[in-house]
């Protein structure tokens, strides 16, 4: 299993992180009309930095995985360009653009993973 994890590299982890970010953006879009809702986003750079700097392993049940996008410090509130009267900081066009971009990012990561998987498959088949 360890061999397979190494073969997939950082991309397997990245895919999970990207899908978590998309979930967060979907929450923002769903709450575009909710009074006092504050838009949130994941600082992707920081999460990746954390994952690379200290590659700590969870060995016990109580341990928290490093570079987990769900951890509180990675999720940040967005600073809106314009504030709304009802205290909502979701700007729909901004969220839409970010959702579209993160969908493209997700597909890019998928492409990398596909290449890795087909490489492994080719090696296993041996022809």
């Amino acid at each position: 299993m360890n061999v397979l994890d190494n073969a997939l590299g950082v991309h397997a982890q990245t895919l999970g992180m990207r899908s978590q970010r998309m979930e967060l953006l979907a929450r923002n879009i769903a709450n575009a009309d909710t009074p006092n809702f504050k838009a949130r986003d994941i600082d992707f750079k920081q999460v990746m930095q954390q994952a690379q700097d200290t590659a700590m392993v969870t060995t016990q049940v109580g341990h928290v995985a490093q570079g987990d996008a769900g951890s509180a410090d990675a999720v940040k509130y967005r600073t809106p360009f314009n504030t709304a009267f009802d205290g909502n900081t979701v700007e729909l066009h901004v969220e839409q653009a970010k959702y579209g971009k993160s969908a493209a990012d997700y597909q890019a990561t998928l492409n990398f993973l596909e290449q890795r998987v087909s490489g492994i498959r080719k090696a296993l088949r041996g022809d």
Binding site: A30, N31, L110
Partner: protein, 141 residues
């Protein structure tokens, strides 16, 4: 897996927006109603949205956490209009009837906003579905 939670979140938004559309339809339908007293006059209904914070109301395998729900449907506090119409059978002893406080123009604008929000969330679901299907295709790579 976070991608499949998008279905629950955006689904809850679709539900809330359709409730909003329903209240707007009700408001527009009742825009022309009159009543004999101030209390009986129709008042425009407003859907008040709230974020779903906990696992409340979620079914197993389908989380709505972070989605949106309709917290309450409240009356528009705008005062109702009083019209002099002695010929109306509902008129009070001074000859006045009380019309609804529905602002038709505002309701139409609100309807457009609700419909756009609905479309946005449908688009979110579509994108998430496509990505999920592509992820499943990873096994065929």
């Amino acid at each position: 897996m976070a991608l499949d939670q998008i279905f629950g979140i955006a689904g809850s938004a679709l539900n809330s927006q359709s409730v909003r559309m329903n209240t707007i339809a009700s408001n527009l339908a009742n825009a022309g109603t009159v009543a004999g007293t101030d209390q009986d006059a129709f008042r425009a209904k407003r859907a008040v949205f709230k974020t779903i914070m906990e696992q409340q109301g979620s079914t197993p395998g389908n989380s709505y956490q972070g989605g949106v729900k309709v917290q309450q449907i409240s009356d528009d506090p705008t005062p109702v209009r009083r019209l002099l119409d002695p010929g109306n059978p509902l008129a009070d002893k001074d000859g006045y009837v009380y019309t609804s406080n529905v602002n038709e123009m505002g309701e139409m604008v609100d309807m457009m906003a609700a419909s756009r929000s609905y479309q946005n969330n449908v688009e979110v679901i579509n994108t998430a579905r496509q990505l999920l299907m592509r992820t499943l295709d990873l096994t065929k790579a």
